[in-house]
Amino acid sequence: MSKKILVVDDSASMRGMVSFTLKGAGFEVKEAEDGVAGVDAAAAEPFDVVLADVNMPRMDGISMVREIRKLPGYSGVPILVLTTESHQEKKQEGKAAGATGWLVKPFDPEQLLATVRRVLG
């Protein structure tokens, strides 16, 4: 069974790049376009990894991580925030909200795959 990954980002191009890369590596991918949709998607079915953009309309990534972590079955599930180098503080905010770690933008497909494989062990 291939691992299932939830990709939450309000940017269609980033979402496209991330999910194309992950699908190409054999993962099953679902997309959501903001925090609210992300929480809904996570509540609807289990995922093995969640990738969360920080700056999003309706609900930002940090709040979303906090919400998803509270959902049944999401304790221990790797959640990575996608943040930029210029916002170091977001890494810690993400951690405090329950994120496993982060992936610093810009990243290329190989860095993405390496990080996802890393959290999947």
Binding site: D10, S11, A12, S13, M14, G16, M17, F20, T21, G24, A25, N55, M56, P57, R69, S75, G76, V77, P78, I79, T84, E85, S86, H87, Q88, Q92, K95, A96, G98, A99, T100, G101, W102, V104, K105, P106, F107, D108, P109, E110, L113, R118, V119, G121
Partner: protein, 682 residues
């Protein structure tokens, strides 16, 4: 390792970035008037941030570097360290413009930066350095820990309760360490409670780790980077250069106490802190910015289309079954099936058309900025109202209606509105209202541009028209008829052309542009209280309602919107002007007769106007009579371009395929009428 071609995401990235810039611009414009609204600032910031992230990801370093600097300014605004001044808004608006043109350039494969954006970058930096300066660089220059990659390391690691819950598995970290060098692990199990008190989500263990080999401190830090805060951690160089083989001994006998007192400070270094790529000066001279033809479609529209196709497939299979064992008794079923097919086809056609439809807000959204800039420059006070922004138009129409509308809006602000002093003197509100309104009317879309300015100056228009020889005298002409004269070629009332409206483009070009979209434009004006310009446009360019007429052995289609009336004329109505040129009396007017058979060279057609049918048509504000043999009926025609399949032909706007498979040509009424009147004048 998979090779992903990032170029496939460029189009989406460009589209969403331009949308982001639009959102930034409209938020900035709102910020202008009602001071710092946190939500607006957030919107602006988010858009800039996304563009920065995306452009760095997709390899547009110059855009990323530019946005990075603009974002710093925004960050100051967001955190309240920098006040929202008119200057800051103005500067950010110019950044939006600069980014738009950078995107336009990278879109066609040119280098994004230019001297203009470099200049702006300097201004931004200047802004950042003066005033209540925020930290000039978001990245504190980090001196990476330089340590010799040698020696062996001792690591104390104790998980806090949250470690597992956050998804950080110690086992994963140990595996990563084991890849760096030779790893020895000793676990402390004293912390494990009795079975019925165990919380499966909690980690009760602590470890002594010993790592031997050429390992840098940063490499170890990287492994534990995510665990910071969820563990107690001490990383130290091994005191003795003892071989790693006997590493698996407890580092501290009373591990529990020593570890607890140990600090869990982790030195986080940011690997390869990014430096903004220096911008290159590269001149791209007036590269034609070709818009690529992609379209973003709401998923609902696509779903509707798929539904339609589903129904079509059902109808098709039903008809197929019917055809296999057909007998006369099933004629009724066949008829029902064909009716259903017709309905499916029409619905399918409509949904396909709907895919090309976009809301007019795409055009309207540029006006708040335009009106703001113009009125500031001219010292006028104008309040812009937008209505019916969700009204949908065909994408092609939408792209081409922008310029005429910009012209009307510029004209209104430049010539239509009085200065605030004059308005007050005339007993009006010093702030004028410019209203843009879009709505459906019948099978058309109407767009109105109305102002409550001074109205068109009848005397000035009449004087100019007489001067230009367009009319002999304005006596007996209504105000609207005089106003109509401004659409005549070569007409311009601006006494001294300002640099705003006087761009050598007159209202005649507005009319021609609108006519090319098979639409029309008209004006109504009232001295002292303003003008209304009304543009009427067809819903789509791809299909027209037409009147099919026979000329010799051929069929021609006359667009129904242009048809005034069709009639048989009597000999007495006709006057011969000379070699094949005839006019006829139609009510109070005298109209030229255009025999289609001579224009298009058809054989065997009726040549005597009294034997055929004359279709009175109107195009470009003038009328004429088209002579055809007979009328065949009225039908919808899907326009096929002649230019793509053959070449442009004067007097024709396209071709279509009739129900029997034959081809009919579609008459370009405006073109023919222009031709006839030019001939008549000659």
């Amino acid at each position: 390792m998979s090779q992903v071609d990032l170029r496939q995401f460029h189009q989406t990235f460009f589209d969403e970035s331009l949308e982001g810039l639009d959102a930034m611009e409209s938020a900035l414009l709102k910020l202008d008037s009602d001071a710092a609204d946190a939500e607006l600032v957030n919107t602006i910031f988010r858009a800039a941030h996304s563009i920065k992230g995306g452009s760095a990801t997709f390899g547009f370093q110059e855009i990323a570097a530019f946005t990075h600097v603009a974002e710093e300014l925004l960050d100051g605004v967001r955190s309240g360290k920098r006040a929202v001044t008119v200057d800051v808004v103005e500067l950010l608006l110019r950044c939006v413009d600069a980014l738009r043109s950078m995107f336009a350039r990278v879109r066609v494969g040119a280098a994004s930066a230019d001297p203009a954006s470099d200049g702006l970058l300097d201004e931004l930096r200047q802004h950042l350095s003066v005033g209540t300066a925020i930290a000039t660089s978001a990245q504190a220059t980090h001196t990476p820990l330089i340590d010799d990659a040698s020696s062996d390391w001792e690591i104390l690691f104790r998980a806090k309760p949250g470690l597992l819950r956050a998804g950080n598995d110690p086992l994963r970290m140990f595996r990563e360490l084991a890849q760096l060098g030779e790893l020895g692990v000793h676990a402390h199990v004293q912390g494990i409670p009795v079975l019925d008190q165990i919380d499966p989500e909690q980690c009760y263990l602590a470890w002594d780790l010993r790592l031997a080999g050429t390992v840098k401190r940063q490499q170890i830090d990287a492994v534990f980077e995510w665990a910071e805060g969820d563990c107690e951690l001490v990383i130290a160089r091994q005191a003795s250069a003892a071989p790693a083989a006997n590493a698996a001994r407890p580092l501290a006998a009373a591990a529990g106490t020593t570890i607890a007192s140990a600090s869990c400070d982790l030195v986080t270094t940011s690997p390869g802190a990014d430096k903004p790529t220096p911008l290159r000066h590269e001149n791209v001279t007036g590269s034609a910015v070709a818009e690529s033809g992609s379209i973003r479609v709401n998923i609902d529209k696509v779903d509707a289309l798929i539904n339609m196709v589903g129904e079509l497939v059902i109808t098709q299979s039903m008809l197929g079954q019917l055809g296999e064992h057909f007998e006369a008794s099933r004629l009724e079923a066949l008829r029902a099936g064909l009716n259903q097919l017709e309905r499916n086809t029409r619905e399918l056609q409509e949904s396909v058309m709907r895919i090309r439809m976009l809301p007019i807000s795409f055009v309207f959204q540029r006006f708040p900025r335009l009106v703001r800039d113009l009125s500031l420059k001219l010292g006028k006070q104008v309040n812009l109202e937008l209505h019916g922004e969700q009204t949908e138009l065909d994408k092609t129409v939408l792209e081409k209606i922008g310029d005429p509308l910009v012209h009307l809006v510029r004209n209104a602000v430049d010539h239509g509105f009085e200065t605030p002093e004059r308005r007050v003197a005339a007993g009006k509100n010093p702030t004028g209202t410019l209203r843009l309104d879009a709505f459906h009317q019948g099978g058309n879309i109407t767009v109105e541009v109305s102002d409550d300015g001074a109205g068109l100056n009848r005397d000035a228009i009449a004087r100019k028209a007489i001067e230009r020889g367009l009319i002999a005298s304005a006596d007996g002409l209504s105000d609207d008829e005089v106003a109509e004269l401004i659409f005549q070629p070569g007409f311009s009332t601006a006494e001294a052309t300002t640099d705003l409206s006087g761009r050598g483009v007159g209202m005649d070009v507005v009319r021609r542009n609108v006519n090319e979209l098979r639409g029309s434009v008209a004006v109504q004006t009232k001295a002292g209280s303003g003008s209304v310009f009304t543009i009427t446009l067809p819903l789509t360019l791809a299909i027209i309602d037409g009147l099919t007429a026979a000329v010799g052995n051929e069929s021609y289609i006359v667009p129904l919107v242009a048809v005034v009336e069709s009639l048989q004329i009597k000999r007495a109505q006709i006057t011969r002007l000379g070699a094949g040129r005839e006019v006829f009396r139609f009510r109070e007017e005298v109209l030229p007769i255009i025999p289609l058979h001579t224009v298009f060279g058809c054989r065997g057609a009726v040549s005597d106007p009294c034997d055929g049918i004359v279709i009175v048509v109107e195009g470009d504000g003038a009328r004429a009579g088209l002579l055809v043999d007979a009328l065949l009926g009225q039908q919808q025609a899907v326009i096929k371009s002649l230019e793509t399949h053959y070449q442009r032909v004067q007097g024709l706007s396209g071709a279509t395929i009739l129900g029997d498979g034959s081809i009919a040509l579609i008459v370009d009424v405006a073109g023919l009428v222009r031709l006839a009147h030019r001939k008549q004048a000659a």
